[in-house]
Amino acid sequence: MADPGAAPVVRFDRVSRRFGDVLAVDDVSLEVRQGEFFSMLGPSGSGKTTCLRLIAGFDRPDRGRIELNGRPVADLPPYERDVNTVFQDYALFPHMTVGENVGYGPRIRGVPRREREARVTEMLDLVRLPGVVDRRPSQLSGGQRQRVALARALVNRPRVLLLDEPLGALDLKLRQQMQGELKSIQERLGITFVHVTHDQEEALAMSDRLAVLHQGRVEQVGTPVEIYERPATAFVADFVGISNLLEGAAARALRGSEEPFTIRPEKIRILDAGAPTPAGEIAAVGRVHDVAYLGSHTRYVVAVDAGATLTVIEQNRDAVPRDVQGARGRRVLLAWPREQARPVREPG
């Protein structure tokens, strides 16, 4: 597990990178700690992959300073950095066997054949892919290639492993299985993982900490619980999970201030329209506009009289009435604990 007191393995100090008119990375400062699973989460074009490429050394910052293990790396080419990458397209060498792919790093470093072969076997066992040493990448499935890419990147025992959307090309079941495996490999080896993804669930499930990026800027850095429960900006609230954003007159009517705030759909309870406002809670009267039955939960869209539309999610813990849709058009009282309404910074 990450040790918060340890020196950062990766440090960005006011780093910017511009491509033509686009500021891909805009004044980013962040620290990745020794041994942690750190994710960079953001939509496409948020600059997360550029950040990864800056760490790997495939690209250089226009401004700012990047340190690896406390050393500035401005003039260090990729092949001299103690960092390895799992590429999004896996980038396996098509003219080499699986064994030669995994053994590429040690071979370049002049590790003798015997030891090299032992390490290749060890790594393929670690990623649970034994018996494919002599196959070509083209003979493997997507999931198997992914494991080979992981083994190849880990065989050098880098200080930091970079993962660029590593699970993006896999189907849902395999993706969830690999999430667990990646996490356990990371804990077993104690290597710092820096992981780039646009999948918020993946980031929440695997990370010790994550940074949410938007238009080249860091919106928030924190643990999954901090990011989800206390989003700092409207963007974070909206991008990570589903969220209701209230601002202006509606915010004033409900919370007594025009400061924008967010409320998560599952924190809202639906009560009968005539019910009294529970103590310490914010309540709003409205009409159910839409009902979607989604199996494990039901999603309601409620038009609130204060002038906003709120999404509410109710777990279907009890028996669900046959006519779920009957709630449509009904007047209801929505209520949520005051502290669950999270004020957010104005969108930047």
């Binding site: 790997a56 050394g57 495939f58 092949y79 990458t85 590429f87 980038a91 003219h95 370049i108 190849r152």
Partner: protein, 308 residues
């Protein structure tokens, strides 16, 4: 509503739609006939001819199986011709590969689309003008009073040029009548055939493969040797097939720019035209074919086609 078609056209379409194999057969029949009859057939005729023999007294071809023609082929004078041609073809191929690789690499990796289009045009442009015109231009360029020698003497390199020309075997009275001149012209005329296949091969190498190699600790030189070169190898082989076989069969360049020693192409021309010895001409052409087949097998052994 289905679109209106003539009923008989519709019947044919439906008939073929339901019989995809027949449709494929109809599609492939013309090219297969062409390749089978015209190409393979003439090749076979060539091989058969090489086992006939020219009767020295009557001047008639004796159409009976014999190895006499191959005995003639192995005469020292003919082996000389074959060796000279093969060495020239190998040298031309090597030089073309060395010159072509950086150009192809730049085109595939770095050139912005516009520059790349211009470069492709530049590579192909010489092929628009007649090959004969270009070969004769080189004769003028390399002549004793030509531009190369003029610049060499002006620039104080005249003695160097003379020294090069006085080399045994490859030298001669002037560049235009020496093996060096033949070599330079060959490299010029066949270079596009080397650049384009290498470029096509390099273009198919994803950038991330090179980054992965960098990432795993390989220096640029190691990445070149272990990743770029092996993946460009099929292109190099394809290019070498062009440059090698084109040089092996050519009779115009050595006839125009060389000294009087013959190349295979010239020998074939002389035997089948002037001397009427078609069997020997046929036997001669089997030399390049054998060499190309051997080279392709060797390339396959080296793994040139593993990543295809």
């Amino acid at each position: 509503m289905s679109p209106r078609r003539h009923p008989s056209a519709r019947a044919v379409s439906t008939y073929l739609f339901l019989r995809p194999r027949l449709a494929l057969l109809l599609l492939l029949a013309p090219p297969l006939l062409w390749l089978g009859v015209v190409y393979l057939g003439s090749l076979l005729a060539l091989v058969v001819q090489s086992f006939f023999h020219l009767d020295g007294f009557t001047g008639q071809v004796v159409r009976r199986f014999t190895l006499l023609t191959y005995r003639d082929l192995l005469a020292p004078a003919n082996l000389d011709i074959a060796l000279r041609t093969v060495v020239m073809a190998a040298a031309v191929t090597l030089a073309a590969a060395i010159l072509a690789f950086p150009v192809a690499y730049y085109m595939a990796r770095y050139a912005p689309p516009r520059v790349r289009a211009l470069l492709t045009l530049g590579v192909l442009l010489p092929l628009w003008s007649s090959y004969l015109v270009r070969v004769y231009s080189w004769k003028l360029i390399l002549a004793k009073e030509g531009i190369v020698s003029w610049f060499a003497w002006r620039g104080g390199l005249g003695p160097l040029l003379d020294a090069v020309l006085s080399l045994p075997v490859v030298g001669g009275p002037s560049l235009s009548v020496s093996p060096i001149g033949t070599f330079l012209t060959f490299v010029y005329v066949w270079l596009p055939y080397m650049i384009l296949p290498i470029e096509a091969a390099l273009e198919r190498v994803p950038r991330t493969l090179l980054e992965a190699s960098d990432d795993l600790g390989a220096s640029p030189a190691q990445t070149f040797r272990r990743v770029i070169l092996p993946l460009a190898f099929p292109g190099l082989v394809a290019g070498s097939i062009f440059t090698f076989s084109l040089t092996l069969g050519d009779f115009i360049v050595p006839g125009t720019l060389g000294n009087s020693s013959l190349f295979i192409g010239q020998a074939v021309l002389a035997h089948q035209g002037t001397a009427g010895n078609i069997p020997l001409a046929a036997a001669f052409t089997l030399i390049p074919m054998t060499i190309m087949a051997a080279w392709l097998l060797a390339a396959k052994r080296l793994g040139a086609f593993d990543a295809l």
